[in-house]
C-alpha cells in the first residue's frame, strides 16, 4: 500500500494532468450535446453583462447600418399588413382563427454577443426565461433563419448560430419542393452547404432555400438563402450545393425568437406514433 502511495506521489504531476484532461474532455463532450440549461456560458448574468458592455460600444459605431435595416423591415411589414388587411376586407374575414393566429409567437431580442469565425459559433441574446424563452426555440432575423436556442438563464439566452458545424436545419428548395439539410462547412461565413438533394432534381442557381418545417423548430417557409453553385460528381448520390446565406451574420443586431405553441403537442404525437410502430 505504501508503495502505491509512493508511486502516486512520485508521479503526482502526471496523474493530475490526466485527471484534468479527462475532466476537460468530459466538459467538451457534455457541452456538445444540444439544448440544456447551463451556468458556465454566456447566458450567465455576470458574463453577459460584461458582454453587453462590449456590445454596446460596438453597437454605437454600427447604429447607421442597424437603423437602415430596421427601417427597411418596418416598411416591408407595413406593406404586408396593408396587403393582408385588403385581403381580409375582400374576403370579409374580420375574425381570424384563434388557433392559427396563436401558433407562432414572436419575441424580439437584441444580440449582445456574436461570433462568426470559429467552427462552433454562438450568439447571446438579451431575453431569457422571463420572456418565456425555452431551449429549442427557433431564432430568425428580418433576413432569414439565424439559429436555435441552446440554453437560457433568467435574462439571457445562448443561441446556436447557423454558423455552427453541429447545426443541421431541415430545408427545402422552394421551386422544386425537394428536401435536404443545410449545414455550415466551417470556413466561409456567408456560405453553407445543402446536402441530400438527390440526382434527379434539377436545381438552378438562384433558387430559394427555405426551412421545411419538418423538425418543429423552425416554422415552414423561413428564408435561408439562395443557391450559389451546385455540382454533381460522378457516382455521387447527392448534389454538392452551396447556398449563399441571406443573413450577414457579421452584422446581426436584432433577432426574433419564435415560440411554437403547439410544439409539445406535435412532439408527443410524433413520439407516440414512433413508439407504436416499434
Amino acid at each position: 500500500m505504501e508503495r502505491l502511495f509512493n508511486f502516486l506521489y512520485t508521479y503526482r504531476a502526471f496523474f493530475t494532468f490526466l485527471l484534468l484532461e479527462f475532466f476537460c474532455s468530459w466538459l467538451i463532450i457534455q457541452n456538445n450535446q444540444y439544448q440544456s440549461t447551463k451556468y458556465f456560458n454566456t447566458s450567465n448574468s455576470v458574463v453577459a453583462s460584461i458582454n453587453s458592455t462590449e456590445e454596446s460600444i460596438r453597437e454605437y459605431f454600427s447604429l447607421r447600418d442597424i437603423n437602415a435595416v430596421l427601417s427597411k423591415e418596418n416598411s416591408l411589414l407595413r406593406n404586408k399588413l396593408e396587403e393582408r388587411n385588403q385581403w381580409l376586407y375582400l374576403l370579409k374575414l374580420n375574425q381570424t382563427d384563434s388557433v392559427l393566429s396563436k401558433r407562432f409567437e414572436y419575441v424580439n431580442a437584441k444580440v449582445v454577443n456574436n461570433s462568426t469565425r470559429y467552427y462552433k459559433n454562438f450568439i447571446t441574446i438579451d431575453r431569457g426565461t422571463d420572456a418565456g424563452i425555452q431551449p429549442g426555440m427557433a431564432v430568425i432575423s428580418s433576413a432569414g433563419a439565424v439559429g436555435k436556442v441552446k440554453s437560457v438563464s433568467e435574462h439571457y439566452a445562448v443561441v446556436i448560430s447557423l454558423l455552427n458545424i453541429d447545426e443541421l436545419v431541415s430545408s427545402v428548395i422552394k421551386r422544386t419542393g425537394h428536401f435536404g439539410t443545410v449545414q455550415w462547412e466551417g470556413t466561409n461565413s456567408s456560405i453553407a452547404s445543402l446536402k441530400y438533394i438527390p440526382r434527379h432534381v434539377k436545381p438552378t442557381v438562384g433558387d430559394s432555400v427555405i426551412t421545411s418545417g419538418y423538425n418543429a423548430i423552425f416554422p415552414p417557409g423561413i428564408f435561408i438563402g439562395r443557391i450559389k453553385e451546385f455540382k454533381l460528381r460522378e457516382e455521387a448520390p447527392f448534389y454538392d450545393i452551396k447556398v449563399e446565406l441571406a443573413q450577414d451574420f457579421g452584422k446581426l443586431a436584432f433577432v426574433e425568437v419564435i415560440k411554437y405553441q403547439q410544439k409539445k403537442e406535435r412532439d408527443s404525437l410524433e413520439r407516440s406514433t414512433i413508439d407504436d410502430t416499434k
Binding site: R12, A13, T16, E21, F23, C24, S25, I28, F122, G186
Partner: protein, 169 residues
C-alpha cells in the same frame, strides 16, 4: 509568496478581461489572438507542474465561459502547462537558469524567448482548432493556427517591450 500570489491574481484578471474585450479582433478571418497563453508562459521558471496546470485550468475555464466552448481552452491550457516545464528543461542554456529567473524577453533575450514560446503557442493553437472542429477541416485549422500564431506572438513580444517586466521573481 503572498506578494507573488496577489500578482498572479491581478494578472489573471487582466489577461481574462483583455482576452474578452478583444475577442472579436480577428485578422483576415483566420488570425486570432489568444494572449492569455502568456499567463502560463511567463510564470517563473521554478514554478511546479502542479501549480501551472491548476492555474492553466483556471484561466482556460474562465476564458471558455466567455467563448461558450466549455472545456476547450481549459483542455489546451492544461496541456501547455504540463509541457512547459519539460520544454524549459530541454532548452536550458549553457550554465543553466539563474535562480528565480523569469522565462521572459528582458531576462533571456529575443532569440531564446522565441525558441521557448513559438512551439508552445503553436501546439496550443493547433490543439484548440483541431478539437473545436472535431478533427475535420485539418488544413483550414492549420491555416488558422499559423495566422493566429503570428498574431499572438507579435502581441506577446510587443507587450513585453511596452510593459516593464521584472527579470526576477
Amino acid at each position: 509568496m503572498t506578494r507573488n500570489f496577489i500578482l498572479y491574481i491581478v494578472s489573471f484578471v487582466v489577461y481574462v478581461l483583455g482576452q474578452v474585450f478583444f475577442k472579436n479582433l480577428v485578422m483576415f478571418n483566420t488570425g486570432f489572438c489568444f494572449l492569455y497563453v502568456a499567463f502560463i508562459l511567463l510564470m517563473p521558471i521554478e514554478t511546479s507542474n502542479l501549480f501551472l496546470m491548476i492555474a492553466g485550468f483556471a484561466i482556460g475555464f474562465t476564458v471558455d465561459i466567455f467563448y461558450n466552448s466549455l472545456g476547450l481552452h481549459a483542455f489546451t491550457m492544461v496541456f501547455i502547462a504540463y509541457l512547459r516545464n519539460f520544454w524549459l528543461g530541454t532548452i536550458t542554456p549553457q550554465g543553466g537558469y539563474d535562480l528565480g529567473a523569469l522565462p521572459n524577453l528582458p531576462s533571456q533575450g529575443v532569440q531564446w524567448f522565441l525558441v521557448y514560446a513559438v512551439p508552445l503557442v503553436f501546439i496550443h493553437h493547433l490543439i484548440l482548432f483541431l478539437v473545436e472542429s472535431g478533427g475535420t477541416l485539418f488544413w483550414y485549422s492549420m491555416l488558422k493556427t499559423i495566422n493566429s500564431l503570428m498574431f499572438t506572438m507579435t502581441v506577446i513580444v510587443i507587450l513585453q517591450y511596452l510593459v516593464p517586466q521584472r527579470s526576477r521573481a
